[in-house]
Symmetry: C2
Subunit: 373 residues, 2 copies
């Protein structure tokens, strides 16, 4: 057990309990508080899913309307935050910008009591798209955009701010489904970090800031950007076939395939693949989706690996006009709901999370004074 | 095993390997890369210890001198960071300020390659005291201080910036010893968070930012501030005796006693207790140290609990003129060395850290459309 946990990154080690989601349980795929991801992606909106994760049950019409009003009312950013975002250069990593913006908001509107945790979660859900879009337009064009829109949901709000105009209903729905798919995923690395941070009884901004920094890595949230970079390398499906075979023979890691927990398939992938296909056809794409499908087929044939959520999300986001460097921040907009729900769950039954380590260092050594070294 | 790990915050679960320190191994107490904490606190400086943790061996004179020159040369802060610190109000939590400052520095001077990890570690070691002091003086007095001093070490640099004058040799040495004691402590919560963040191949600023947010909690780094608040409640040892007995009868948690890993004693406590006694005597204290000793005696007698590092650190810092709200940030100045060394160790043998969870939520549920709820 010990060396197993040690060498394998806690793979399969139960580190706690959760009532939030099942990931790959007995072929059951993914559920959020008992609802299948297929049903949620087909019938719900992201705001309903965020409510479900945070409150434990789906909202009724009145609860949902009230939540939407609260979220719409919190899209503005404090002056100090806007001024700070203006100081961050255009070549900064957008995840670093969100990490910093979240941390700074924690200085300006601190969590003085855990009773504020739900209100702060909603504040972050409402403010993250505004933060990112404000910095993005200011750093690139020097434009100080108005971050308040009358879009009913977070998906439309962000697309509106990004493109400077109201998005189509279909684009809003595609983005909304993507936010639903990314909202929660049990004890992944960033969520586990949020829980450990919360387990010291630190504030919720610290937990979400830590989670953003963790999600940033290419072995986690950064994978959708890496998948896009891969897909864009190829002009045709034939080039893709050859390129992937070459990469596999060099034992390169192909991002967007396989999963630590899922063994046979990622239930989110079919859903986002459907959207990528539809969005591509609509905008006259005759390359990216076809290349994606071929990479998928080669990976299945050669390695028996399945695409995970990140793989088809890349082309779907591209068809929505989202620049590649903003893919992982979209993941933040959504996963904030899951992170916050885990922070609340950790706080409700808290014990400090503090494991042990196997020592592999030198035996006791005699100290030698500086001038005798 | 599963329910054990789950209910007990991974207590005793081996989550990886480290060559950096032993904590409570077979009564051996605490060693950093094989050197006992007693030897290091008696004979070394903090910069030697930071070098030891980062590089693996103690530096010789030339290596140490070169490192000191590098650190001294990096005490200045970029304009954008100073301007952002000026936007953070005086009532912000100083740990939130360091968390934000670290994150922002990661936007301004990003880690483009892991080859920069040692240089960035030194940059953070040099810049954290400057960040904190700059914000502290500006937010309270509107003064834009010069953050470069000619103090040879980090301990003296911070005391100089805080008090606006060169500190005494003895105060520098007391602070230096404290930084040595706090520098590294195996898989504590903040360090484990830094390693998980690093395990996604995210950047080192993300890992240190996450660790700061985790250290902030009162069950972790925040304990020294809580210990100070406790000690200051009592005017005399007799009041302390009664107050602690009352608190114990109410089953209040007394901060600064006991430890997740140490069973019999915290080897760091005797060292810092000696310094607290000496500094108190020097500055004519006839209350805080005596109160501290009495609380210690009552906790030993009533609960057989020993003080951990945080307990006597509180009065030692107080005697050095450090405001209580800056105690945990001092922990950051020091532990940055340990965090960074763990990030480097994680990267050298990386596997994504991603545990599992036991599911305790609802069974599969049928989705009910919004208007039917």
């Amino acid at each position: 057990m010990a060396s197993n946990a040690s060498s394998q990154g806690l793979a399969g080690v139960v580190a706690g309990e959760t009532a939030l989601s099942t990931v790959g349980k007995e072929g059951a795929g993914l559920t959020y508080r008992g609802y299948s991801i297929e049903d949620l992606a087909e019938h719900a909106t992201f705001e309903e899913v965020a409510y479900l994760l945070i409150e434990g049950d789906l909202p009724d019409r009145e609860q949902l309307d009230r939540m939407r009003v609260r979220l719409q009312g919190q899209r503005g950013l404090p002056d100090a935050l806007r001024s700070s975002l203006e100081l961050i250069p255009a070549n900064a990593h957008p995840m670093d910008v969100l990490r910093t913006g979240c941390s700074l908001l924690g200085c300006l509107e601190p969590e003085d009591s855990f009773e504020q945790q739900t209100a702060i979660t909603e504040r972050l859900l409402a403010a993250f798209p505004s933060m990112l879009a404000y910095w993005y337009h200011y750093s690139r064009n020097g434009r100080r955009i108005e971050t308040v829109t009358d879009e009913p949901g977070i998906a439309g709000h962000f697309l509106h701010l990004l493109h400077g105009r109201a998005p189509s209903e279909e684009h809003v729905r595609a983005m909304d489904v993507s936010l639903i798919l990314y909202a929660e995923h049990e004890f992944n690395a960033s969520t586990f970090v949020a829980r450990i941070t919360a387990s010291t009884l630190s504030d919720i901004y610290s937990a979400i800031t830590a989670a953003i920094g963790t999600l940033r890595g290419p072995l986690h949230g950064g994978a959708n950007e890496a998948a896009m970079a891969l897909i864009e390398r190829f002009e045709t499906p034939e080039q893709a076939e050859q390129g992937i075979l070459d990469a596999l023979s060099r034992k390169d890691k192909i991002m967007g395939f396989g999963h630590r927990v899922y063994r046979e398939r990622d239930p989110r992938s079919d859903i986002v693949q459907g959207w990528a296909k539809r969005l591509g056809a609509q905008c006259g794409d005759d390359r990216l989706y076809a290349v994606s499908e071929r990479i998928h087929a080669v990976m299945k044939r050669e390695k028996n690996l399945f695409p995970n959520l990140d793989f088809y999300s890349a082309s779907a986001y591209h068809f929505l006009g989202v620049p590649t460097e903003l893919f992982t921040p979209l993941f933040v907009f959504s996963r904030t709901a899951g992170w916050a729900a885990h922070v609340m769950e950790q706080r409700a039954h808290n014990r400090l999370i503090r494991p042990s380590a196997d020592y592999t260092g030198p035996q006791p050594r005699i100290f030698i004074p500086l001038d005798a070294r």
